[in-house]
Amino acid sequence: MLPEIKRSILSSLEKSTMYSLLKDGKRIDGRNFYDIRSIKILPSIIEKAEGSALVYLGNTKVLAGVKVSLARPFEDMPNQGLFVTGAELTPVASPAFELGPPSYFSIELARVVDRAIRSSEMIDLEKLVIIPGEIVWMINIDIYPLDDDGNLIDASMLAVIAALMTTEIPKAEITDLEKGKVNVIKDEKRPLPLVDLPISFTFAKIGDYILLDPSSTEENIMQNRLTIAINNKGEICSIQKGEGGGFKFNEVIIAKNIAIEKVNEVRKLVVNQLAKNPRGPNAWEYI
């Protein structure tokens, strides 16, 4: 109950004070306009998933899990494995989310993350083929926000790339090539073949100010948002403008430049966290 009290008291301060703070170049939580909140990544946290990660972006928490299974490839892409991205926005994360059929935002969230992975060609799909045209690995990525304090898109993106980086695929032995039969050896595993690490940056526009990584307090009063994902080569690999309101040409260029400027720092942070943070089920102790 206490967080709500906290929030309602805040909200009276909020709207009046936020604009005056912004005028002085400050944000309500003390950050500068282009600062990202602290990132914490707990990898391999779900043993039954082939890959998983819990990501903190400030107080926003997102859990992503990966399941791997055998599937038939698409007829026109016999030499490519498959991946599917889903997002479940349950009321666990926010009273604004409802059970029932997927909301527009949950569909957008899943598709934006999916596009960044697809455009950057992060996963080497050809290495997921077992028998061309017959059997390939299918990678199911599912995003579960647990606590929404703003910027679910970037937090989900981080959780998904971290989960994919922890994913292991079992060995598949072909037992009957003609009939397309395969034997799965669960104990022999190899990492999911990854060739890129796209990072997304979401900007909010409030009045004429552009802020990176908005908190939920900032999202409440923003007019619109812009997400830009950058791949390993420093290219843009996905863009999504969201909510009503519009961006000026210059604002888009600024956001793009900031994203390119920040990408290496964030990518390094992700890699470091995955290397150093406790892995496995006991990581829950750290929550």
């Binding site: 527009y104 957008e108 420093g234 843009i236 999504q240 403008k241 309101g245 519009g246």
Partner: protein, 256 residues
Amino acid sequence: MKEIDESKLILIDSNGIRTDGRRWNELRPLRIRVGILDRAEGSALVEMGKTKALATVYGPKEMFPKHMANPDRAILRAAYRMATFSVEERKKPQPSRRELELSKVIKEALEPAIMLHYYPRTVIEVYILILQADGGTRTAAINAASLALADAGIPMKGLVTAVAAGRVGDQVVLDLNDVEDKYGDADLPVAMIPATGEITLLQMDGTMSSDMFERALKLAIEGINIIYERQRDALKRRFLELKEKILGGEFYASRD
């Protein structure tokens, strides 16, 4: 039934000519008709090449259920749907996740242009049916929808105009057709309110360097300015038409 062998596909030939005969900075043939339906309060058909988008508008009207209404402004609803026969392989009538995402971004592309605060507690509805899809359906949809809004007499800051730019190899191109969309290297649909310079839709898939992105975005805005002129012409024709009908006594109201 795959029809195109990707390896042999040449999207721009050595003379700089694209698969449908255009140069890199040319729009497809554009046809616009406003007010073509009687029952809808506003309507428009926009054809960009073989892509055909039909939009209709209703409202402002009372919002049900009432507790969903906004006391400060009208709510905008938009639905984007494709006809089952608009594409090569029949599409199922149930809306796909893609159609639902596009409904959302189209709504958000139109919203900033509409004077929603004029009509608190009401709803304005925009329905778009893609009759044929050949690349750029979301931008055709936005062009049609903003004309249908104008035809319905909804007050706006300005029309919303949209077109995609993209990348084919190291070339920036304007107004991608279906083959360029599928086999090109990046697609950058853009919507703008030319009257204010606000970009109200911006998406991208594929990859582009920072520099090429700026060039592509500028190219899209140039295309938008051309389409915007054509939209205004079409609207003018529509209003002249209506004026004649009214003066000509076609409406019962003028019989008295």
